[in-house]
């Protein structure tokens, strides 16, 4: 296990290095000059050059990248060009909000997705099954921007059940979690449905039924724990999918997370922030996958890590 973990962590470090290189290179090659944005319209050529020198942007790519990496290993993510703050500080201020939203969204996905999947599997081939699968398809394909605004309009503006955007209480969390969760729940319901159908065909289910157990007990005690295994790996991968959705949902609901920070930075080509957020997202994805791989064998002893 220790060797496995070490190997995976080394792989993770390599992946992060690759991500940092590609992102840094793309931002370097981008036909946009952050110095001109910092310097503003009234700056003289001298001022522009002076700022470029101070930020080290006059150096060749390799030197710039090396500087960034050496800062990175010391925990220095750099300083935002336009917000004039440490990137680590900006991210740290916003990370708790994003983690909270992710947790809420995953919970929502699991509850909605699994329930739909289980019901569809048990009513396989009926109108209920079809209706649930169509719903999940719509959920997966609906643009989050539209879903978010629709939920806001109905539940916050018209019904007044929830606050209109913002952050702070449980009530604030509900609508953004649902918006983000609806996207993923479709995948979960489809996955859960096929996994459940697969399990229901197994011999041990037939045995359990033959022993005279109630339908409820067969499903909850024997079918569900086995059917849910593939879902656990999905949660890990899901974190990666979330990063895209979070940018949109956080913007619509005014949720002060890193998705919003990234969006603002991208619009203004604030390279240190874009780099920082990309690396944090990459870490989240790598960690999510790693966790999924480590946790699965504990739940299903048939799977062993090597």
């Amino acid at each position: 296990m220790a060797a496995y973990l070490f190997r995976r962590l080394a792989q993770a470090a390599l992946i992060l290095l690759g991500v940092s290189f590609i992102t840094f290179f793309l931002l370097y090659a981008l036909p946009a000059d952050p110095v001109r944005q910092i310097a503003g319209r009234s700056a003289t050529a001298e001022t522009v050059e002076n700022i470029r020198r101070q930020l080290g942007l006059d150096q060749p790519f390799v030197v710039q990248y090396w500087r960034y990496l050496s800062g990175l290993v010391q925990g220095d993510l750099g300083r935002s060009y336009l917000q004039k703050s440490e990137v680590s500080e900006l991210i740290a201020a916003r990370l708790p909000a994003t983690l909270l939203l992710m947790a809420g969204a995953i919970l929502c996905e699991l509850v909605v997705g699994l329930t739909m999947g289980i019901i569809a599997a048990l009513r396989r081939g009926t109108a209920t099954d079809n209706a649930l699968m169509i719903t999940s398809f719509v959920g997966v394909s609906a643009p989050q921007f539209v879903v978010g605004l629709l939920l806001l309009y109905v539940f916050a503006v018209k019904l007044g059940w929830f606050p209109i955007g913002g952050y702070g209480t449980f009530a604030h969390l509900v609508l953004p979690s649902i918006t983000l969760g609806i996207l993923g729940s479709g995948w979960y319901s489809r996955m859960m449905r096929s996994s459940m159908i697969e399990v229901l065909r197994q011999d041990y289910i037939r045995t359990a039924r033959a022993k005279g157990l109630s339908r409820r007990r067969v499903i909850l005690r024997h079918a569900l724990p086995n059917a849910i295994l593939p879902i656990i790996a999905m949660i890990g991968i899901d974190i990666g999918i979330f990063m895209g959705g979070i940018v949109v949902v956080e913007s619509v609901f005014g949720w002060p997370g890193i998705g919003q920070l990234a969006w603002q930075a991208i619009q203004r080509v604030d390279i240190p922030i874009i780099m920082g957020v990309t690396l944090v997202s990459a870490c989240a994805i790598v960690l999510g996958n790693l966790l999924a791989d480590i946790v699965t064998p504990f739940i299903d002893p048939r799977i062993r890590v090597r």
Binding site: L30, P31, A32, D33, P34, R36, Q37, I38, A39, G40, R41, S42, A43, T44, A45, E46, T47, V48, N50, I51, Q54, R79, L82, Q83, K84, S85, E89, L90, A93, R94, A97, L149, L152, Y153, A156, V157, I164, G165, G166, Y167, E250, S251, V252, F253, G254, W255, P256, G257, Q260, L261, Q264, I266, Q267, R268, V269
Partner: protein, 540 residues
Amino acid sequence: MKRLLATTALIATFALPALAQDYTHDPNARAGGGIVVTYKDDVATLDPAIGYDWQNWSMIKSLFDGLMDYVPGTTELRPGLAESYEISEDGMTFTFRLRPGVKFHNGREMTAEDVKYSLDRVTNPATQSPGAGFFGSIAGYDAMSDGSATSLGGVEVVDPLTVRITLSRPDATFLHVMALNFASVVAREAVEAAGDDFGKQPVGTGAFKLAEWTLGQRLVFEKNADYWRAGVPYLDTVTFEVGQEPIVALLRLQNGEVDVPGDGIPPAKFVEVMGDPEQAARVVEGGQLHTGYITLNVNTPPLDNVNVRKAINMAINKERITQIINGRAVAATQPLPPSMPGYTEGYEGYPFDPEGAKALLAEAGLADGFDTELYVMNTDPNPRIAQAIQQDLATIGIRASIQSLAQANVIEAGGAGNAPMIWSGGMAWIADFPDPSNFYGPILGCAGAVEGGWNWSKYCNEALDAMAVEADGITDPAMSGARMAKWSDVYMGVMEDAPWVPVFNEQRYTMKSPRMGGDDALYVDPVSIPVNYDYVYVTE
């Protein structure tokens, strides 16, 4: 209080003939309460030497003061931290007398040393101030700029309450420069203590002080009880909630949770809001010193032919473009907006005349038109405006392909001179101060027509540049009329060469909640956007 005001008004009238009457307090104003203002983007910085966007501009105005200031709701100068000033005969030396007893938010009294320190700081290249160039006329600026000096030679502390500033060339706009945020007076010890984070821990002499800043969520400004201007501010707190989509902000305003949406009414909701009399009544409309334009790169064939540029000017249907933004603008005839001094009254600009345009093109040997590119920023409504321009050009045979890019990429292409045509929307010029010179240098003058400069037409007419320098050399207030006439000539000269198509001058629309009080002018204040926080109040 009234007496104090009367005295100030008298000083303003006699000692400072260029200045207008000061603001008279609103008799209905009541002190207390707080308002909520929303923004989509986080606040970048509150450091007056660095902050240069419309969001932090007015926030900084409320936290800091400079030697000069504007009468609320107008573009007229009034003294700020300077109680009075004298200008030497040759217009090259300004002596400012500071108000005694003005205190920084940290309790220390402000002195002439602070004024000098603040000007040294903003012009020091290490500060990376986007506004350093505005101080170019102060003696010793060049030595600061190239790093050979650490203090401006032209700024001299005469005594604790007197500062003398000597210029290296006559500059008629100098008092406006001293009213810019970049000239705000900061407390040295606070800057040194905060280091790079002064923008997050600002200490000034302004009407409000920063009480809370939760990154990505909110900023709270709290009334400065020791503010040197008697009677203001009225509000106890101003809370800025950031990270709110404009459309959500509008919903919250309608729900009574927000008082002023800082980003304005979202374009998609504008017609709906203005169509509802109850909501429309709470929208204040005002002019702003803004011009949206198309740049025509004078170095790119066939745009290097003046007749082709004139033809393009005649092909654009400006009225139809203003319709795309729901009529929130007036068609422009020249680079200057109508409310700017120096605007040429009665000049009609190039007429909308596609047939005439075709004839001009034919005369230039381009009867079949030509292919070109139009760059545009990719945020709504700019791509839609670019399409309208594309259609207008197509009617005279010019086939323009649209390059819709992020703001930074358009700026890069414009600066490098790669873009034949750019629609300026989203990056259009809004004056830093109400003087015609501010519309020329970086965007139409030779200085901006360099690699990386903001003069995207790459237009450089040395005769006009010389006239511009002459105009700014007229420092005698009595000659202000002659100066404006000269500026008017400069812009008419520009129109003759047609490096731009001036398209429209945007109007400003500020929406407020029913509880907001104060003169309408405060809601379309030319220098405090969206509102002048120091003078608005709540009625409940």
